[in-house]
Symmetry: C2
Amino acid sequence: MFRPRTTQEVADIVRACAVEQRRITIQGGLTGLAGGASPDADDVVVSLERLNQIVEFDEIGGTLTVQAGMVLQSVCEHVENAGWYFPLDFGSRGSCQIGGNVSTNAGGNRVLRYGTARELVLGLEVVLPDGQIVSMLNKGLKNNTGIDLKHLFIGSEGSLGLITKVVLRLFPKPEARYSALVGLESFEQVAALLKSARANLPGLSSFEVMWQDYMVAACGAISREVPFNGEHPLYVLLETEGKLSARNENDLQEWLETQIEAEVVADVILPQSGEQAAQLWHIRDAIGELLAGMAPYVAFDVGVPLSKTPDFIHTVRTKLKQSYPQAQSLYFGHLGDGNLHIVTGPYDESVLIDVEALVYDEISAVGGSISAEHGIGRIKKPFLFHSRNAEELGLMRSLKQLIDPDRRFNAGRIYPD
Amino acid sequence: MFRPRTTQEVADIVRACAVEQRRITIQGGLTGLAGGASPDADDVVVSLERLNQIVEFDEIGGTLTVQAGMVLQSVCEHVENAGWYFPLDFGSRGSCQIGGNVSTNAGGNRVLRYGTARELVLGLEVVLPDGQIVSMLNKGLKNNTGIDLKHLFIGSEGSLGLITKVVLRLFPKPEARYSALVGLESFEQVAALLKSARANLPGLSSFEVMWQDYMVAACGAISREVPFNGEHPLYVLLETEGKLSARNENDLQEWLETQIEAEVVADVILPQSGEQAAQLWHIRDAIGELLAGMAPYVAFDVGVPLSKTPDFIHTVRTKLKQSYPQAQSLYFGHLGDGNLHIVTGPYDESVLIDVEALVYDEISAVGGSISAEHGIGRIKKPFLFHSRNAEELGLMRSLKQLIDPDRRFNAGRIYPD
């Protein structure tokens, strides 16, 4: 294992591996959920953990240039201390590295407002599998000078290049966040609420949906009372960002009242403090506690068109119950982005792959994505054909063949053989 | 010239050209500003004008799938009639086609809020130079399933593939727009105003800057009085979108008052009607009228880091004046996005290329972009090295060689020989 401190050291290691015909596994914070960082037996492991310095903080233009091994939480805290904001956020923030976030095109809770990692990256520096350093440290929002090469490396999970530096786009730091939990009676109402929220809440930053069984199970797992006694089939936990003002709180409250009057929303909890809001978010974030009791389980991170979501869930729930009556399936996720999470178990180890196949078949049927945010890695490689057709896979293989003909970087991941 | 109506017809033409070893120039609305659509003598011209139908309008998920030849204004009007909004907008909206917008990664007036065309595209269908149809009609905001191939075709100006369909991301339609024109005394204040606007105006959609000589010249060209008697060195024309409410107008007014109190802003015009606002925007859009009186001129569309903008302008203005005292240079642009426009003239035809070289040398010096939004085409090809280093150009050429080895599509554009 190597832990380089500079781009030049990285390039030297990569070049040495090319000469020695060794394969490389790139490691960041080891928080990925697709098995992309687990090495094969003979792989040289290159860890980015010491490549963690700030290169430049442009406090006028609003950009931060960092080495790829910097931990996400450190990135966020550094800019917040100066009144700026990097909005990428999710549970592993204290361990994951920005290079890993970019190479997997991480999503998280605020994609609805700020986009995925891809939309937050202005420039990159990468080392190619032959050891060449390609510096594309653009800082501008707009730069139309030929092919936008950075997009080859964002979201391709280290398979084409090793990211060594990132130029991040910053935003003004919001003064406050406001959350609300609502209970609804149908998915039609959820979709109506989302459209109204996008139109009426300019600071809308998160729109998370939990189905009833998830809500009840999650509260059970963290030993807290179920809001609304769990009597509604659907729950939305939303968040807005903005100035710290009574007016913003009132705006949110007034909008919620209009949604109650319009019979879109059946019930509302409006937290009166940061702690109360955090308790609600704890329910949404209770995955770890939940999964502990469901093993062996399968966890899905899928993209489903909003209009097809209720039928998709109904079909999957029904088919799973028919084939595996002893297992439960729970549904929740970043529905504002069309990203649905499913956790289902317990199963016998031997049928886990059949459960995956069942769900991914239904994903094909709705033209969805087998991986909305977690990536393909090793785990979803056998199922990639559900979301990518033959022409797409052909073009992907050609690009891999062009840039990494000897399969030096993260071999055996993503590209079906 | 061919005017195909379906993707299959396009693919057939492309395949026939490959067999006959003919080169193709792809044409959309012929509004591009980099000469990318002008054919060589023996080129087969493929016009997208008849490929202009709507494929699917998902009014729940908020996506519109269209054939690439649909005119931008038609796209916008179609979705607005149903309460949705496609925010890409600029002067040529009545002629330009969405396929051209995507292939050039068009920008326009609302990049600050909604991003460039790249951020508004969810999926594509393209025909490759060998005639293969690659369908990537993703509709989800999040889809991490390997390399995101569409980014090869967005902004690469037809050099890698011919776009035949586009899946567009829609937004809720704003009820109203509010504009304000302010006069400021220094660029420091412009930067402070921008940061405050982004933090305090959640509906901020445009932030355009005009330097004094542009303001005076533009008003002269359209025969109107100069706001504030043209006494300020800098002007910002900004726009917010949101609900139609007295409250939104008051919010904008109150915020402007705080900026006056903080001595960021020296003077304000707050239009009381849509027509008054339109008159202000007419000054910003008066390029055509201005250029008529400055020929032979050079028009620049550059990306400059915000913090370096005043020095950049000072240097360019001074150097141009020294070498060409009879010519004027005017500065304005989408400064919220770091995109500066310069128009300068009149010059003797024989020195136009020297004027370009002078400005692009200064762009190199600040690490800027020679093309923020208009693209490279034929016109900026000789200068591409200012914004792309040898490794980037090498990788771009490799990709062109992989996907279009016979240089069938838009030959002679972008890639320096």
